[in-house]
Symmetry: C2
């Protein structure tokens, strides 16, 4: 059975959980607490030398890292993977946008202010720039979603899953989505789709256990 | 003809230039100076609403953004794109690693100290963390390359191109590769391959012009 090393509040982990559930793939969830250094143990570093969740362990023990690489791997050959070369490029464009221009701002502000707590002076000093960067990412998304149902070819796919993960909890980092009507309508649209599960969801059709 | 909006010192842009040249695809290079705000003009924001280079314009005017998405698009169906599902996942894993755990440290330190110059107080305060993050990324690469010729399946591909781009100029940001023999041997190996061109290379088989 697939085994997912994850941290429940993580939007990066949530992307993988959501794709696994959408595709009906059972998996074992191993929860690691990143705040307690559980992804930096010698045992875990053998699975992912970069020491991060989510990490997916395949049946043969092969471990895959990087949330967006994992969801591409899982989606290949399914309805979540676009058929056209241009749609695949656009999907990857949104996935790289998410990791470079969205997550380091929107997810990091949420992590600092909501998930982990207790900011350092340097984090405090960076916060205005992080908040500004988050709104810039939301501006890009709002323009792309204006008049559209989904991010790529108006068809639900990996780009929507990857961007939904941290956008739908952006308010936990203090981001105000009031001036983003297209984003808000898209969030509702994604959440209303079949086999949607919330970020707090754990699989019940698999053994879920907390590490150590 | 393909048209690439780019900034010559950019490693992100260099990835695309290198793949285009490796594949023998002629292109027009439009150089924009990011330090002068030339990627934030209303005209350019119509091509890439995130205001960044590299941006690739296809024959029909379609514009693609995000360096790693662009090189995947160009490589699909060529020898640079892995044949196995697992190798594709590993390639994407390295590409997302590059954008999240490598570029924001190694490229940003180089940009602040070497390319753009004139750091703010906040950038100065962030520098030790950025340098530390850069060495962490190099540690991950060194471990992966130990005893290997290339990053994925011991066969040269997009992962090597994406990671080569900023690693080979890491010294410009002050990073010392002395304790990374596997990385240094790999850099030499990549640079010795056919149709390799340096980061300062401009196409001569196409019209190259500097914007306004």
């Amino acid at each position: 059975m697939l085994r997912l090393y994850d941290f429940l509040p993580s939007g990066n982990g949530y992307k993988v959980r959501l794709v696994l559930h959408k595709l009906g793939l059972p998996f074992e969830l191993i929860e690691l607490d990143i705040a307690k250094g559980e992804t930096r143990t010698p045992e875990f570093l053998k699975k992912n030398s970069n020491g991060r969740i989510p990490t997916l362990e395949l049946d043969d023990g092969t471990c895959l890292a990087e949330s967006n690489a994992i969801i591409c791997y899982l989606a290949e050959g399914t309805e979540l993977w676009p058929e056209s070369r241009l749609a695949r490029a656009r999907t990857l464009q949104w996935l790289f946008f998410e990791q470079y221009s969205h997550e380091p701002y929107i997810a990091v502000v949420r992590a600092w202010t909501h998930v982990l707590g207790g900011m350092t002076d340097l984090q405090h000093a960076q916060l205005p720039g992080k908040i500004n960067g988050g709104y810039q990412a939301l501006d890009v998304m709002e323009e792309a979603l204006d008049g559209k149902r989904f991010l790529v070819d108006d068809r639900f796919g990996l780009a929507d899953i990857a961007l939904y993960a941290y956008t739908h909890v952006a308010d936990e980092g203090g981001f105000d989505l009031g001036k983003y009507p297209a984003i808000r309508a898209w969030l509702d649209r994604v959440a209303a789709l079949p086999r949607h599960v919330p970020i707090t969801w754990r699989p019940t059709d698999a053994v879920a256990r907390v590490a150590s």
